[in-house]
Symmetry: C2
Subunit: 106 residues, 2 copies
């Protein structure tokens, strides 16, 4: 099989404010981003999952939304996907936005 599903990541310029806000407007996704920020290193999707009750497919979908909005960068490493928040890109595009939003108490 020579087809490989590429993980789409928007370029820095293509990150939109509406996209970022919409991605962070979901409490689950906000918690995922928070988890990823708290740990400096990458986290797999299951590690970053906010609570265990969520369906795999739902989780996968949330990570896709975050990825396509430009909030996280995902790379395949073996069997799992490692995720990092695109801090530099986000700060360049929308200075202080991430810090401001994540600054509020959960």
């Amino acid at each position: 099989m020579f087809f490989m599903a590429q993980l789409f990541h928007p370029s820095r310029e293509d990150i939109t404010l509406a996209g970022v806000l919409a991605a962070l407007a979901d409490p689950l996704r906000l918690r995922i981003v928070r988890s990823l920020m708290e740990r400096k290193d990458c986290m797999s999707c299951t590690e970053a999952a906010p609570c265990p009750g969520i369906a795999k497919s739902t989780l996968s979908n949330h990570f896709r939304v975050l990825r396509e909005a430009g909030l996280i960068h995902t790379t395949k490493q073996g069997v799992e996907h490692r995720n990092v928040v695109r801090e530099a890109d986000l700060n360049a595009r929308f200075p202080k936005l991430l810090k401001t939003i994540l600054g509020y108490a959960e």
Copy 2:
């Protein structure tokens, strides 16, 4: 007819981050809020409408979303509804959020 549709406004404590972000995640609503902020005084719904092509019902819906998320306060004045951004409440609940988000170039 003695029934009067009350305009629902959440109290300051009931304004949620997810709600605010979701409300501002729509480009149209962001522009409405921007318009309202630029003018110090109240604006009617049609005055604050970002572009003329939008259906009345759609506009009405966007204003309802903004209102129920706690972003704007609406009062009936005669035949029209006057809207103001709830700056004090928003700044108390989520300091700098509004300023940060509205600070980015359109």
